[in-house]
Symmetry: C2
Subunit: 670 residues, 2 copies
Amino acid sequence: MESEAPQVHPFKHRSSLPQDLRRESRHRVRIERVSPSIDRGRYPVKRIVEEPLDIEADIIADGHEPLRVLLEVREPGERDWQGHAMFPGGNDLWIGQLVFRREGMAEFRISAWIDEVVHWQDSLEKKYRAGQREDLEVELLEGADLIRRHLSRVQDAEAAQKLVHWLSLWAGPGDLDLRVGMALDSDRGQEAAAFPDARFVTVSGLYLVHVERERALRGAWYEFFPRSSGTVAGIHGTLEDAARRLPEIAAMGFDVVYLPPIHPIGRSFRKGPNNTPNADGEVPGSPWAIGSEEGGHTAIDPRLGTMGDFEDFILAARALDMEVAMDLAFQCSPDHPYVQKHPEWFRRRPDGSIHYAENPPKKYQDIYPFDFLTEDWEALWEELGRVVLFWISKGVRIFRVDNPHTKPFPFWEWLMMEVRNVDPGVLFLAEAFTRPKVMYHLAHIGFSQSYTYFTWRNTKTEIEAYMTELATPPVREFFRPNLWPNTPDILHEYLQKGGPPAFLARLVLAATLSASYGIYGPAFEWCDNRPLREGSEEYLDSEKYEVRHWRPDPVHSLAPVIARINTIRRTHGALGWNHTLRFHPVTNEALIAYSKTGAAPDDWILVVVNLDPFSAQEGWLDFTPPGGEAMEVHDLMDDARYTWPPGPRYIRLDPADPARVPFHVFRRVG
Amino acid sequence: MESEAPQVHPFKHRSSLPQDLRRESRHRVRIERVSPSIDRGRYPVKRIVEEPLDIEADIIADGHEPLRVLLEVREPGERDWQGHAMFPGGNDLWIGQLVFRREGMAEFRISAWIDEVVHWQDSLEKKYRAGQREDLEVELLEGADLIRRHLSRVQDAEAAQKLVHWLSLWAGPGDLDLRVGMALDSDRGQEAAAFPDARFVTVSGLYLVHVERERALRGAWYEFFPRSSGTVAGIHGTLEDAARRLPEIAAMGFDVVYLPPIHPIGRSFRKGPNNTPNADGEVPGSPWAIGSEEGGHTAIDPRLGTMGDFEDFILAARALDMEVAMDLAFQCSPDHPYVQKHPEWFRRRPDGSIHYAENPPKKYQDIYPFDFLTEDWEALWEELGRVVLFWISKGVRIFRVDNPHTKPFPFWEWLMMEVRNVDPGVLFLAEAFTRPKVMYHLAHIGFSQSYTYFTWRNTKTEIEAYMTELATPPVREFFRPNLWPNTPDILHEYLQKGGPPAFLARLVLAATLSASYGIYGPAFEWCDNRPLREGSEEYLDSEKYEVRHWRPDPVHSLAPVIARINTIRRTHGALGWNHTLRFHPVTNEALIAYSKTGAAPDDWILVVVNLDPFSAQEGWLDFTPPGGEAMEVHDLMDDARYTWPPGPRYIRLDPADPARVPFHVFRRVG
């Protein structure tokens, strides 16, 4: 008998119940493994405006009643949730899709409940079909109770009206078969079921989606040093000179012009040509040694011009449909005004000197790192935030961040969040060449894009493995690659040894493997491949330490090929995505082949590249188009057209052929 | 100039900063992907006492300074954290291990910080070796400051004393080389580094580990119906009769005796033999139709005996080193006292009747399900909790839960937590044959063990795939299988058709693939394989609906084989684990081979089974022992010994051979 149940073990531990468990005691549905999500929603996944986000979750309940699942989204700046139905995908997986219209931090969550209305209709129908007529009246009574309870939660008058009318058709007396038929109306049932008892509705945690503008995902970047833009050898170029280069850069089809730092350069310990230490003050110095008596991170190096010149530069780029990306190098030369004004922002040694950068036994006495954990950290962080906002006020909306992995993660997370509260369209590219998990974490905390290991991935096996990792979940959900064949810091041996055919191969790989890519010019288009010394990845006579004078040489320039490739990128949407990348087998390790698709089924690009810059390579490409039939392709580089029968096709690419580039970029015609 | 920085964009959005981000602004270290964890710590992983738990996490920081990582554990009921060092495992992965001594819910977390002391020592050493003597005095000064700051946080007088002494050796004046040598003492450095500035220490979230007693992982179960234990055909057996069977069950080597419900059985709509509906009241009824005027879930069916008989039964089992598992079937017959006393705990229809169980058009009028979401849910849940505590007070510490997947997850989560607050040694076995994600979720929320799909996995491919899934993370971390070749509900076609050789194959598979297994006897050991009808998995003349009388037949009984296998299980620790299971190729789809290892290297068992109950099967087993040399093995079933040269070995197993079982259980001798 129940009375025997002992009172000796009361549930005195109620207080130990997690708050959530108590609040959710009557939530029969559990929502698990919401995907994509990073660290269970702690960090956002990334999308651009209009890019679909497919969402999945395991959603289960006890028993066997049907579930109703709602994917709710709150676009940036909105207060209300918009609901979209999720659908079962088998094995308790539910799927839904979101598309975001606005930049900023969107949120989604999932709500799920037992669909009592559909359950009742199912049961009524089965009993009706089984001829259990004796049960039908009470089933209808029960259903009427159920619908009335749902009705009591309907706010919208029109919807309520509709349900009241439905109820009147079968809840009263009348012909039983007719009334059962009316009660089984599945449209009305669906409508009523949208108003469950909130006490029994399970709501998932919040998941974030960082929605950015298109340039966060796709764009062609061109980096150059304004001070080397002068037309007279040996004379320091200006922003005006740099602006004069813009039409030529635009003609090559670039979207973003990125300038190394343009601020006053410190004099103390200034580096001379080829990184010679302690050169005299007459050398121009490294643009990354920021700050002198002429100003710091919000000033323009007077040798480059004035703030007005910079604003003109931005306007000139904008007139050519290009954006200017600024270098954000948060470090100081010893001559930076901050050093005098805010010595508390730097680490001081017991002898009173300030800690310069070092990697013992190497010393970088021309650079003082900030102490981001200083007691005065809030003032420091806010000042650096103001630097970013300053340049935003001048028209800059893309920042290429120098070595973000040597500054604390919380600083960046805070900075980018604050800046995007002011302007959600501001993009940050992480120049982090460091360990993989650190690079990915920078993407978690808000960097729109990142440099990659692409420069060091030169064989087919390396390229396929690395690009597949980047194009596939989970990485694809938060990390957007920006591929650079060269940078002022990296002239890879492959380019040094391979010359123009190597430059062409790396160009087309960067431009078609990734929606974002960039080159450092004119070093790239003029195929500068002289290293500082054998075994070094540094350029000889690097622009980092001196003013260079580039002599135009139209005959040997890669500019026409670059222009063609950028035109193809703009014309063919498939190249604007990363996640549709698929590699295809070729019977030759020097030949790599891959395709991408866009939104439309005929938006399809197939690229085949000879990775060997020295020899012609041939092989059989195993690519069968969807459907398996013959297809006609069009090589967008040389306008050749081929009809491909089903089965493998022969490919031969010769880097020595002066009439052709050592790669194909095919689109499908037929 | 900094003064140009605009004041027009103040950071007015500070309030939008997540609380965590603000609090953790100076935490340079990030701790990610802590593993194993379920839903980022929402649910516990499972271990038994003394079973090691290997923990991994990605731990990163900006910059290149060394990290120090502490794995902190709080055993059940303790207040203080115990710290254990974690070690780098490459690619920013850190690893550590915990072993728990006490049953209950343990917690762990990870703390990590920049190791400033080791960083300073590294730097000092590099400068010393590079001969940068001009820097050494200031380095020592800086180090002394650092150590003094660490010292200020040391509570333990002895530890402080040691560090003060160390400091005195090099912080004052004296020979520079000697002082540098002293300062580089890495033991003292390590000791000092254990006292970082708490403001800069990153602490992960909490992760749970549910630590249970050994029986949660391993045990051999025997299920039988006490009412069929009588010695006279046609007479309802009693608990006293059942107790008389215990020595024989113990002799077969079982650890747990599990009884179907022993409560009074309802009379309304009582089921007759072979599940005939609405039999008259003279049939014994189904034990799962719980409750009559004689009592409910805390009463004993008077036909079985008294509460005293049950307590005696428990004592008799305990005397034989066995435990009694009770059936927990939370449902009522229409005659259950709850129905009168607490009609509000059931769902009522508009006509005043109570909702019986149904799956339209099928009706189960002998069963009333509880309405777990009733307005009075707290009283209902507490009453059901009291039922469990009642039986615990009678000595039951294992519950086999009937159909847990048809009651709300929060109910079970709450119930098991409350019960384990009273007695952490209480085990729950989920009898859930349902969809995979639901089965796994029941394990998440606290079931110690679960029934599985094993019964329906009969081919080599099926068994290998399923058991690998169960033995491998993530499943292995939370789901403990209990394999049953048969149950009163399931007589698989394989047993129906295959007879005794099939019973033997399924027996050895269950007993050696999983640390926990069980049989339903005497149906199993006496090879009852008569189905209700062709195509049904129900037994003919099922004990669920009638009293059976089992006539002992020692000649045809499998009891001796069962006893042998259970002895092997007890002797060889390897069979007490699931996660060391590895399958080995055999050149015959009917022969399956697998091994398990225990803690000691020579604790190794290899099992080979002929899955074909009709024909002899032969093939080559591809098993190479560690080291690759020849080995001597001992078949624990027939005591044969073989010396195996390196390379594949021939296996032949004949189900028709009366002298041998159709499987091998080898241990390694040499």
